[in-house]
């Protein structure tokens, strides 16, 4: 064997060893298990807490309200669309209350007159439709076709 190889081979062996050692420290656990990524990341993404509980969750305590809503045109709408996220309220129903939407602009987000809006939803001109009062003075928000007065 030529003398230069005698010196270079151990040197290369040390380099390769150091590289593999550094690599095993730097590459995180579960990397490459299923592809070029850290497989455990999927489980970490799964763990996050849910803020919105879903309509089924309200059914445990407010089933009367849900059944009532089934009879009118707001039936397809989830409680949390209007009342905001409910997970915190479900954990502490007495101390944490969900948001109660107020004002004409809130109903207007879905009902204000706009030519882009799908004709599936009935629209009113907020500047003309009973301007002086709040919508829920007349319409029951859960049973919109039922008039309070």
């Amino acid at each position: 064997m030529p003398p230069q190889l005698k010196r270079l081979i151990p040197l290369f062996a040390i380099f390769i060893f150091l590289f593999l050692a550094a690599r095993s420290f730097l590459v995180p656990k579960s990397f490459g298990e299923q592809g070029h990524y850290r497989f455990n990341s999927i489980a970490e993404n799964k763990e996050k807490a849910m803020i919105y509980a879903g309509k089924e969750a309200c059914d445990d305590c407010h089933s009367d309200r849900i059944q009532e809503m089934e009879t009118d045109l707001h039936k397809g709408i989830s409680c949390e669309t209007c009342h905001g996220p409910g997970s915190a309220h479900i954990a502490n129903p007495d101390s944490i209350k969900p948001m109660i939407p107020k004002g004409r602009d809130f109903c207007g987000m879905c009902h204000s007159l706009n030519p882009s809006r799908s004709k599936l939803v009935h629209q009113v001109d907020l500047k003309e439709h009973n301007v002086t009062e709040n919508c829920i003075e007349c319409h029951n928000p859960h049973l919109p076709c039922q008039m309070k007065k």
Partner: protein, 256 residues
């Protein structure tokens, strides 16, 4: 060296080169190198999930509750330029020009600024990550911090992302942003923490008209497959061959 010797060593060299060359070619046949090497495939087993998404533009009323719910559910900064999902208002005027607006992603509702007599056609287009299965963003990531899960969701590993912004550039749909608090890329995870527990995504939950549909493309009975059978569905920018799994009904050619 004599001429004869030179001839011999040349022959030797050519022989060796030919062996190495043919070895290289044959091994490359076994592991073909192509650009979609990171892509996952739709599972052949029908019991495995393959997530997809549907949007019915005809039903969208532009209330923006989806964008609002998404920000709350996923703890996204409230500034009006960080969105995982948002709604755009398209107005096609009689003279053919197109106006696209998305004030605060639609969270505060929309007003139509064009007078009705000038409007040829107007509609809302909700946008979100298309969860492509040949994702340009996944291919662009230099460290493997973004990936496609075996059930077809594109996600970011925020502990591994170096914030280089290549993926933000690579996404042709503009669905990624840099989270200012963590300085890592962020995007729609299809509410992976919800769908893996059997719940639907926050945006689908709050949609009042069921314009948004989440479903398993591998299950012939899922609502998404039914929706796609009943309507003529298109994906955004099909010419880019990204393998988008977000299907739009009534998608106009003007939508970009």
């Amino acid at each position: 060296m004599s001429n004869e010797e030179i001839g011999k060593s040349r022959r030797k060299f050519i022989k060796k080169a030919a062996t190495v060359g043919s070895l290289l070619v044959t091994t490359s046949l076994f592991t073909p190198f192509n650009a979609v090497v990171y892509a996952v495939e739709r599972p052949k087993d029908p019991s495995k999930t393959w997530w997809g998404y549907g949007i019915d533009i005809e039903k969208c009323i532009g209330c923006g509750r989806c964008a609002n719910a998404c920000k709350t559910e996923n703890n996204i900064p409230k500034q009006p330029f960080y969105f995982r999902t948002w709604v755009e208002q398209y107005t096609i005027k009689n003279d053919g020009t197109v106006k696209v607006e998305s004030p605060n992603g639609g969270i505060d509702g929309f007003v139509q600024s064009v007078p009705p007599e000038d409007i040829f056609k107007a509609f809302f287009v909700p946008k979100l990550c298309n969860h492509c299965y040949k994702s340009p963003c996944v291919q662009a990531c230099p460290v493997g911090a973004t990936y496609e899960t075996p059930d077809g969701v594109v996600m970011v590993d925020e502990t591994y992302c170096i914030g280089c912004r290549y993926c933000v550039q690579a996404c042709p749909y503009g669905c990624r942003y840099i989270n200012p608090a963590k300085n890592v890329a962020d995007k729609c995870t299809l509410c992976y923490h919800r769908i893996s527990k059997g719940k639907t995504t926050a945006c689908v939950e709050v949609c009042p008209t069921h314009a948004r549909i989440l479903g398993n493309l591998n299950d012939p009975k899922s609502p998404l497959v039914k929706f796609m059978k009943e309507h003529t569905c298109l994906v955004l920018k099909p010419h880019l061959n990204t393998g988008s799994k977000c299907f739009y009904n009534a998608l106009s050619g003007e939508v970009r």
